[in-house]
């Protein structure tokens, strides 16, 4: 289509000066020409030259070649627009705002147009109002207080006689209503819902939807008007009515019950839609109003959930929709998709469920990628309802793991994990290992930890379990979660002797290959486990006695060649002297090497070990240097202790059953009776403990209880004569004061530790307990909160987030960790300053993964002591 509005040659100017003749016309020339024209024709009262037209500006901007040129054109125009705003030019305001909106879309700031939009809205002209409201929706939102200034204009326009003016006002209200605005205008909206005009009615219904979202308390006043929306014939009113009711039902259980009685009405509307003949107005590829059908199906799902009676009333219609809908087009599948979700969610008949799963099966085989995606997504949502039905599609689902589309692969992966059970674990794991190897980095972490969990739960045998773990180690590389290393070591440690030799030999093969191919850096968790295992069972690795153990893999290949002692040491040397391995990995290797000195028997290997250990006596890293010096002492002064100290670890105990961890959130590390185990523990502690040093100052775990007491003494001194406070202080159980002292030292905040500590439970859900310990600062303008999270189950990717109102200032320290096990806790310190001394409210959000499923919890904490800031 041509652009008659701006291509037509229609001007008072001579053709050679017609600025619309050439789109790339220079702006300066345009202005000059316009000025001349005004002088020629216009009365003197026109102060400003005619501004550039919107289309001309767009054309100019499109004609520029570089970003710098564009900036200069835009800046020039913006400067001009500002000047017209300053001069209160109302004739061209509308055009200038329209240009500003275009400039805004290009990414330039346009906030200076906000107030001008308000002036346009207040103008009686419809053009001004239309552009003004458009500008308001684009430039304003509820975060800016300016938006409240239009409340009055909105109120006026909601009472206008022109339906389109009312429409514009409703549309804007629906887009930017804040709670304040919602409260002010709710009654107007309620009145408009009852309007006989369908155009206004539908918009008012969606405004009510928005108002309820922002201020749920206002729901009551809309209830009477809402019910009657369903008796309308107009589809716009029907769909907005259903949307509004859906929102109300999700809002409160009482309203849900209130609306149970509309089920027959909804069924009737849906039936009419299906049975009615062709209606050109609402037809989409042969389906009558799919938008309305989907909305009704969704509302039925909410009403029928956990309600046998309501479910009974909708069984027939769902069956009808499921069987009668044409599936050759996207529209039909849209409705089927929604129907399947409803069938699976309500208490439907079993035959209906079979029908639904069959529909999903057909979806899975569909050529359309979108339909396949939806099928996977829905199967994942329904797998908990009926696993066996989904199992039938396992092969197809596994096929989807190889899809080039990341969205489909992600869904297929999630679904595969949901389908793993004791019977299919071998074949599933094989597929997933292939997937893991090829998958993108973003999948590796999640996929590998889910595989480790699945293997732990369903392993058919110990040997298979170890084999699978080793493969995961090889393929996931450094993406593997940290705790997998220790859990694998624990499994090996508690295995039978023959299996330990087997593990050592397997891991040796993997370690040797990684070292030689230079891939060890990418597989550090593997190196760590291998180092530990070979260190413990090195004698079994080199001994000919282990020849009886079959090293053949599933395909019958035996790739294992028994290494000589010296060759093992050579590989260790290669790894230890590599610059790429992390300190932690080297610590594992060094300790393992020391252990090998009592496992290996030949003199040359002993000498080599000693030389390597001695070189670490001058290592640049203090931790490794210390290990090196200490271990080399075992060759000199304390040589007689070496054998006993480096003896094999006793079998580690499996982790305590999860439910026992309730009573004690953070049990102290159980000291093992064996002295060598203690030494091992101590060394492991050092290995583990050396990490947090680098990532934060809030790790309390290494701090022994004794320190706390000391700190409390200091606290008592500092808190002066306030005896009651120190008496009630539960601080003896918390290391938080220590942190506070340290913080005071490091961050130079001039506050002294608190005198009062109280505890607020922020979240207690599904075994996860998050408590906040509140400490007042004596200066009373702030508090320190210590978040402590404990859980009955293992949670990963634990992330605690908090938000406070604008008048507060919140500083968060780094958390003590991201993996929460039943034996441990995560702590995090929050410091809140409150200059205005208003009551503290805190919104928290906790996200974590449990068994690979991400979980999100939110809560608002407002049960803080009221006198916190007095």
């Amino acid at each position: 289509m041509a652009y008659p509005m701006y291509e037509v040659d229609w001007s008072v100017l001579p053709p050679e000066q017609n600025r619309r003749f050439n789109p790339a016309f220079n702006i300066a020339t345009i202005k000059q020409v316009v000025n001349e024209a005004i002088e020629r024709v216009a009365p003197v009262s026109v102060r400003m030259p005619t501004p550039t037209r919107l289309r001309d500006l767009i054309r100019q901007i499109r004609a520029v070649r570089t970003a710098a040129e564009e900036r200069s054109v835009v800046n020039k125009e913006c400067a001009y627009i500002r000047s017209t705003f300053r001069e209160e030019d109302s004739v061209w305001r509308c055009r200038n705002i329209a240009k500003l909106l275009y400039i805004h879309m290009l990414g330039y700031p346009a906030h200076f147009g906000q107030l001008e939009c308000l002036k346009l809205i207040a103008s009686p002209r419809f053009t001004d109002k239309r552009v003004g409201y458009l500008g308001a929706m684009l430039l304003l939102d509820e975060r800016q207080d300016v938006h409240l200034l239009i409340t009055n204009c909105l109120k006026n326009d909601l009472n206008s006689n022109t339906q389109f003016v009312v429409g514009l006002a409703l549309c804007t209200l629906g887009a930017i209503a804040s709670p304040e605005m919602a409260r002010d205008l709710a009654s107007e909206v309620e009145r408009l819902i009852k309007s006989p005009n369908a155009y206004i009615k539908k918009k008012a219904a969606l405004c009510a939807f928005r108002i309820i979202r922002r201020v749920p308390d206002l729901m009551e006043m809309f209830l009477p008007a809402t019910r009657s929306l369903l008796t309308e014939k107009n589809h716009g009113v029907l769909i907005t009515g259903v949307t509004l009711i859906t929102e109300m039902c999700e809002n409160s259980p009482d309203t849900l019950n209130h609306f149970k009685k509309i089920v027959p009405n909804l069924v009737r509307i849906l039936k009419n839609l299906i049975l009615a003949g062709y209606s050109p107005e609402h037809d989409v590829s042969g389906v009558s109003d799919p938008f309305l059908q989907v909305k009704i199906l969704r509302l039925l799902r909410i009403l029928g959930k956990n309600d046998a009676e309501a479910s009974e009333a909708m069984n027939d219609i769902l069956a009808q929709v499921a069987t009668n809908t044409e599936t050759s087009k996207n529209v039909g599948n849209t409705i089927l998709y929604e129907t399947v979700l409803s069938i699976m969610d309500i208490k439907s008949e079993s035959s209906l469920r079979v029908l639904a799963v069959n529909i999903l099966g057909r979806f899975l085989l569909n050529n359309d990628k979108n339909i396949r995606y939806v099928a996977l997504n829905t199967l994942l949502r329904t797998v908990h309802v009926d696993t066996s039905a989904v199992q039938r599609h396992r092969t197809t689902i596994l096929e989807c793991l190889k899809d080039p589309d990341v969205s489909i692969r992600r869904r297929a992966m999630e679904l595969s994990f949901a389908l793993i059970n004791g019977q299919n674990i071998r074949s599933m794991m094989k597929e997933l290992l292939t997937f893991l190897e090829r998958s993108d980095a973003e999948f590796k972490a999640h996929c590998s930890s889910a595989m480790v969990l699945a293997a732990e739960r369903h392993a058919p045998s110990n040997k298979w379990h170890l084999d699978t773990l080793f493969r995961v180690f090889l393929k996931a590389g450094n993406y593997l979660r940290d705790d997998t290393v220790s859990s694998t070591i624990q499994i090996i440690s508690s295995s039978a002797g023959e299996r330990q030799a087997y593990a050592a030999m397997r891991l040796w093969t993997a370690l040797e290959r990684s070292a030689i191919s230079g891939l060890a850096t990418e597989r550090q968790p593997l190196v760590q486990v291998a180092a530990w295992t070979i260190g413990e069972y090195g004698d079994l690795l080199v001994s000919e006695d282990s020849n009886a153990i079959s090293m053949a893999d599933e395909d019958g290949f035996d790739e294992f060649t028994r290494p000589s002692e010296e060759y093992v040491i050579d590989i260790y040397q290669k790894l230890l002297w590599s610059t790429q391995l992390s300190i932690t990995t080297k610590e594992y290797l060094l300790l393992s090497l020391a252990k090998l000195s009592t496992r290996f028997t030949t003199q040359p290997s002993q000498d080599k070990i000693r030389v390597i250990i001695d070189t670490f006596g001058s290592h640049i890293h203090i931790e490794l240097q210390q290990r090196g010096v200490e271990l080399s002492q075992l060759y000199r002064q304390y040589a007689h202790l070496r054998g006993a100290l480096l003896e094999r670890m006793p079998a580690m105990e499996p982790p305590a059953p999860r439910h026992e961890a309730d009573a004690e959130p953070a049990p102290p590390a159980t000291p093992s009776p064996e002295p060598d185990a203690q030494q091992q523990d101590a060394l492991l502690d050092l290995i583990v403990g050396s990490e947090p040093l680098t990532n934060g100052d809030t790790d309390h775990k290494p701090a022994p209880a004794l320190n706390n007491n000391n700190n409390n003494d200091i606290l008592d001194l500092l808190s002066g004569l306030d005896l009651s406070a120190s008496a009630v202080s539960p601080a003896s159980t918390t290391p938080a004061p220590a942190t506070l002292l340290l913080d005071g030292l490091f961050s130079s905040t001039p506050h002294v530790p608190s005198t009062e500590v109280s505890t607020v439970t922020a979240l207690d859900k599904g075994g996860l307990l998050v408590v906040l310990e509140v400490e007042k600062w004596p200066a009373s303008d702030g508090v320190t909160l210590t978040m402590r999270a404990t859980s009955h189950t293992t949670l990963t990717d634990f992330l605690f987030q908090a938000a406070v109102p604008r008048t507060f200032r919140l500083d968060m320290m780094s958390p003590s960790g991201t993996v929460l096990t039943p034996q441990s806790e995560i702590t995090q310190v929050l410091k809140i300053t409150n200059p205005t001394k208003t009551p503290l409210r805190l919104r928290i959000r906790v996200s974590y993964s449990t068994e690979g499923n991400p979980v999100l919890e939110q809560a608002e904490v407002n049960t803080f002591p009221p006198d916190l800031f007095n």
């Binding site: 289509m1 229609w10 024709v41 216009a42 005619t50 037209r53 289309r55 767009i58 061209w92 509308c94 055009r95 329209a98 275009y102 879309m105 906030h111 419809f126 053009t127 239309r130 552009v131 458009l134 939102d141 975060r143 887009a175 930017i176 155009y199 969606l206 939807f209 922002r214 589809h235 769909i239 907005t240 949307t243 989409v284 109003d289 938008f291 996207n330 599948n333 849209t334 929604e338 990628k369 396949r372 995606y373 080039p404 589309d405 969205s407 992600r410 809030t698 340290l742 913080d743 987030q801 908090a802 938000a803 406070v804 109102p805 604008r806 507060f808 919140l810 968060m812 780094s814 208003t838």
Partner: protein, 200 residues
């Protein structure tokens, strides 16, 4: 004190934990807002973007309140992600906390961010409905129509969707409403010297 969820100012997001100054992590304001709005206001549609194959934004409609800086960041990242996808791939993208449904029509990408639980196929239909309306209004619409008449494209969208929810399922009604409003505009625009007082 302003008692809305929107007035919460500070929010800590893990990915923003990059700077470590004297034991205090600097809080990224934008991640805070991002979390609150995307997570707490579960609008059906959170935003709709139209952009060209070259990655130029042609239309943006936000049904959630974000600071400009964050909107730009989201827009930029999303455009890059969508443009990187191959034509044979499915129209859905799980991106951050939202589900993005997109479809390409000639040189333009239409892109909606929805709630995770929403019917993705229906969103495709919604996009298609919008394209049909543009097509009817402009008469076989092309990218240039939307560039030069972006305000009309907004007006049409506002008659189809309100506050992120569909308000009208009849194409005829939408076009009728737009035509009537265009007429109102024409009637009050004085014709004559320098053509008009409208947008030009």
């Amino acid at each position: 004190m302003v008692n809305t969820t929107l007035s919460f100012q500070h929010f800590l997001h893990n990915t923003s934990l990059t700077h470590h100054f004297s034991g205090t992590y600097v809080i990224d304001f934008y991640y805070f807002v991002y979390f609150l709005l995307i997570v707490t206001l579960e609008f059906q549609m959170q935003f709709m973007l139209l952009f060209s194959r070259q990655g130029k934004l042609r239309l943006q409609k936000w049904y959630v309140a974000h600071p400009d800086k964050l909107k730009k960041k989201i827009t930029r990242e999303l455009i890059t992600t969508v443009l990187a996808r191959k034509p044979k791939m499915c129209s859905f993208l799980e991106w951050k906390d939202v589900k993005v449904v997109y479809k390409r029509y000639a040189s333009l990408y239409f892109c909606c961010a929805m709630e995770q639980e929403d019917n993705e196929l229906l969103t495709l239909e919604l996009i298609h409905r919008y394209v049909e309306l543009l097509d009817k209004y402009f008469g076989s619409v092309c990218e240039l129509d939307i560039i030069f008449n972006f305000e009309k494209a907004y007006f049409i969208l506002d008659e189809l969707v309100l506050g992120g929810e569909l308000q009208e399922t009849s194409k005829k009604n939408v076009l009728k409403a737009i035509a009537a409003q265009d007429l109102l505009q024409e009637e009050e625009t004085p014709q004559g010297f320098f053509e008009d007082h409208g947008l030009g």
